[in-house]
Symmetry: C2
Subunit: 246 residues, 2 copies
DNA sequence: ATCAGTTTGAGTCAATTTGACTATAACTAA
DNA sequence: TTAGTTATAGTCAAATTGACTCAAACTGAT
């Protein structure tokens, strides 16, 4: 049995100088942009919200940042994302997809970091259970302050992808529970795309997609005519993580 | 001036056992799937080709693999991809976009490797100049053998993305030179999507997109009526690499 | 010089889809 | 009972798409 050749190197964990930083290998981190719909305080209509965590150490100590952490040995990238998400926010997403690998050289002032970022959708029931504390808080996606690192740009790109995927793919249903009304689906579109949609035309389009199944049930307890409940029967995307070889 | 806190760890470069491998941090590599159109030997019509490099060391020594290499300190991810691409194949792509970060735990038998994979399109004139040698060769995208690592799956996913992006976005023109005929655009679509398209309807659709500009020139020297030359005036995608903060 | 063969490029027409809009059904609250 | 509100079906013109026809423009063979 061959013996492993070992080479001892040095890792700089804080404030290394330029020469030292250049010799250190880039470190790998996983972060996640989490989207949920919650009622706006003002209008009461659903809007997009994102949970952020406060940084408790330098760099950017005190600023808000995306939940994330280092990649550990015994887990795939997606597993690392969902574990980290559970640990920092208590959330279990109904949809999780890789967003992008950000690897610019000056993302962190102390160290070269490559971040593999995921994005997630959580249902409102889940979102309500999330641990909110001094260091974890929900923000409206269109009213974030200045975030740590390049996280403003990352959220912006995640928003672009979300809107894009909503317009094409069948992603909206992951914001909702198993049963939903067509008006709820419309509210998702209106909140994410920030537009008003004609109810009649919208329902015609949605009903024409084969992934939507009419159930025999109706939503009771509303103030008006009870709407029929539907169910989504499609499968997630075709990303490598959801295929065969991640 | 604070002194950097140093922590000494051990990196295993060859055949570490399981316990040792688990304690080693994942290493980062950049690879690229390169697409070009070249005439098929049989029909002469353009088809999709991919350049591969032969592995000259273990693991998978002798097998064909995607061009790639480690990420070095002083370059962004995209820069690393295009540098590596130039070094291994001599190619300078007209289009380069991040595909996916692959980080499954058993991608390499000797070591945990996270690969950030890009995909590229090169024009036929470029492709003809590429260094072809004993260890670099072009293959038809639909007739690859068994590749090293998980590279078969990666190519499959890249193909899916290429077809997807062709159907929506305006990507086809990066396979062509600055001036092109509408029939050439149609040939790109037919080669990539592997279908026959009605010439008259296709030209009507393409001409209706605002990114296509009619020039006053015509392609001379053909056997039949000289077709008008067009120009693409659109800009690349909206990926983070092509935006602001990579 | 003429004709056959081929590709470019414009146009026609019916089928389908989309956007704007109307009307009715079904419920609650007063 | 009635007014208010949402759900849902349906109508109709405009826009888009798919299948197809036809003239224009060139080459190469006769």
């Amino acid at each position: 049995m061959p013996i492993a050749a070992k080479r001892v190197i040095t890792v700089y964990t804080t404030s290394a100088n330029v020469a030292e930083r250049q010799s250190a290998p880039p470190s790998l981190a996983i972060s996640t942009v989490i989207f949920a719909l919650r009622p706006s305080e003002s209008s009461g209509r659903p809007t997009l919200w994102i949970p952020l965590v406060r940084r408790i150490r330098e760099p950017f100590k005190g600023l808000w940042a995306l939940p994330g952490g280092p990649l550990t040995h015994a887990e795939s990238l997606q597993d690392a994302a969902s574990r980290n998400l559970r640990e920092t926010t208590g959330l279990a997403p109904s949809y999780l997809e890789q967003l992008y690998a950000f690897g610019g050289m000056h993302r962190s002032p102390t160290q070269r970091v490559v971040s593999i970022v995921y994005w997630a959708l959580v249902q409102p029931t889940e979102a309500a259970l999330a641990d909110e504390s001094e260091n974890v808080r929900w923000f409206r996606a269109d009213k974030l302050g200045s975030l740590a690192f390049d996280h403003n740009g990352i959220v912006e790109y995640a928003l672009w992808r979300l809107r894009n995927k909503l317009a094409y793919g069948s992603i909206a249903y992951h914001f909702l529970g198993e049963y939903f009304t067509l008006a709820q689906v419309r509210e998702v579109y209106e909140a994410v795309l920030d537009t008003q949609l004609d109810p009649a035309n919208f329902r015609r389009q949605i009903k024409s997609t084969p992934e939507i199944e009419e159930t025999g049930e109706f939503l009771q307890g509303g103030k008006h005519r009870p709407p029929r409940l539907y169910r989504f029967t499609g499968r997630p995307g075709l990303d490598p993580d959801n295929r065969s070889t991640p």
